[in-house]
Amino acid sequence: MEEPLAHRQPPLLRILTTGFVIVWLVIAAFPFLWTVWGSFKVEGDFFSRANWLNAIFGPATTLQTGAPFTGNGYYGAWVVNGLWRSVMNTVIVTICVTVISLTFGTLGGYALARSGRRYSFFVLIAALIFRAMPHITLVSGYLLPFFQLNVWGYLPTAIIVLVAINQPFTLWMLHSFFLSIPKDLDESAMVDGCSRFQAFRLAVIPVMWPGVITTGLFSFLLAYNDFAVTSMLLSQDNQTIVPRIASFLGSIEETGKVMYAVAAVVSATVPLFILVMFFQRQIVSGLTAGAVKG
């Protein structure tokens, strides 16, 4: 489609904006591409003082392993260091957190959206304040009671804590999503003789999935990306990927096995790549929905 003349940019401005976008694209993408590519090299190439091109072509990698690419880092991270155990923990934690958060959140968000009373507003305000609490300050409140109750270190403890930390955001998102579903829908179901819960189950649940999926993505991200809670509340054996990477970092750099860490970091990025690739639209709409609704 030909743009109207009045909207067309002068050539200089067009070059400037395109140039800026390309520069931003490089800045945003480069660390990822660099690390993914470099994770298949040996340390001498990835950290090459002589020439950064070594990290691209890998002369030392060829010398040491016979090929320009090597999976040694991945072997070290997954097999030698047993990353797969942390991966299992991460799978359990993220799935449980997402499912429980969404269950609690849809019930609560629905109630908040349908009750116009003053106390529902206070619940939302309280959630806003809770949302702002730094996670590490909460962690310092958990530790002593958890030690006393003898529940420190276990996956269920971390899961329920992450669910709770996630609730304020989930409530706000789903509350504003349920506001966009017409009241008439469940009210007409109730006129037809449904109870409130039946109306929710039969009339609202079938149409709520887009909002739930979007919110679920963010619940997943929170659980997956968390470091404060999982690093402080899980014992060594139960650690998820992120605290695991942070904890074996120190010991790895001493023995010159930094490439294990690089490979582990790249492995931990893969799920996020996939998430953005398939759910880009939902992530964007979730971010903007929160912003537009305030």
């Binding site: 009045a6 401005l13 904006t17 800026f20 976008v21 931003w24 694209l25 945003a28 993408a29 660390p31 990822f32 660099w34 690390t35 990835f46 950290f47 090459s48 950064w52 990290a55 609690f104 959140g105 609560g108 109630a111 529902s120 619940v123 305000i125 806003l128 304040i129 702002a132 609490m133 730094p134 590490i136 300050t137 909460l138 310092s140 409140g141 958990y142 530790l143 009671p145 329920i160 709770a164 609730q167 989930t170 409130r196 819960f197 997956y224 990306n225 470091f227 404060a228 402080m232 992120v242 970091v265 990025t269 790549f273 953005v276 880009q280 992530i283 964007v284 971010l287 903007t288 912003a291």
Partner: protein, 343 residues
Amino acid sequence: MPHRTFLLFILPSLLAMVVFIAAPVVSVAIQSLFVAHDKVMVSVQSCSPFGCTDDVHVDNKATEELQKREPLGKFNGFGTYIDRNHLAFDEVGAILGDNAGFGDAVGRIYALPFYRALAFTLVYTFVVTPLAMLLGFITALAVNTVPGWIKGPVIFFSLLPMIITPIIGSLMVYWMIDANAILGVALQNLFHDPNLYLKASAPLTWIVLLLYGIWTNGPFSFVVFYAGLQMVPKDTLESAMIDGANRWDRVRFVVVPYLTPLATFVALVQLMDNFRVFEPVVGFNAQANASSLSYSIYSDLNGQFSQLFSSAAATSMLTILGVIVLLIPVLVRTWREFNLKAV
């Protein structure tokens, strides 16, 4: 909706928040008023052929028992808040009473651990937030004008710095600025200083952390502003053009006012999130040069020999106080909006 039904629906969520968010804050408040017990000392007289000596040593059993009986420790009031590692009233008083000029006083106060962490936290919050928003806004304006095929990849790659696990993102950048890695070497060549090492100097560490913050926070503003730009009414832009507004005028007088409510929202979210900056400090291994409030809580809890619960709790309370100060404008605004709606 009847009260009972509302309560039933909200109960699981409310319970989770009360037990795991509200209660820990109370728990932190209580912990901050106590300190660990002193070790129970016993004095034992040991006699040898050469005479008797009094040995004082720790009675581990009694100490443990005391710890079990009163796990919180002994009551200390606000003692922890004003000690050297927190607000340091005595030290600050001494510095203010006796110093060689303003610079000297600031330098010495900055040497106190709490004020160091506070300084970095505040600088990070108030430098990263506006600059990241500016970056996001410019990117949104630029992406809005480029041809369609480039928009998809730009949004894809822009989302990555935002959703990447903070500690993993900072590790990736940390490895790139290593003295032997691509960016580290490039900077050494640029400044002709083979010893230039980003991690070794405090100002450079701060700059790296701030740039990292802008990199990872910019995309959020970009996505929100880009979505906002799609909703700026075309008619208003066109009538502004007919009235003779050039590009710059249109941005300034049409686009910016239209995006202001979005910008307020983004600013508030970002201020809250940046105030708890924590993972980048761990990822960049920067605690020696740039510690944040959240990091000092973490390091208290992660102590080599013992966990300093009361110290962590006191810092936590001070941090929460800071968060509440930041939150007050939001709360006031939401309250007003709700009352408007009610009328």
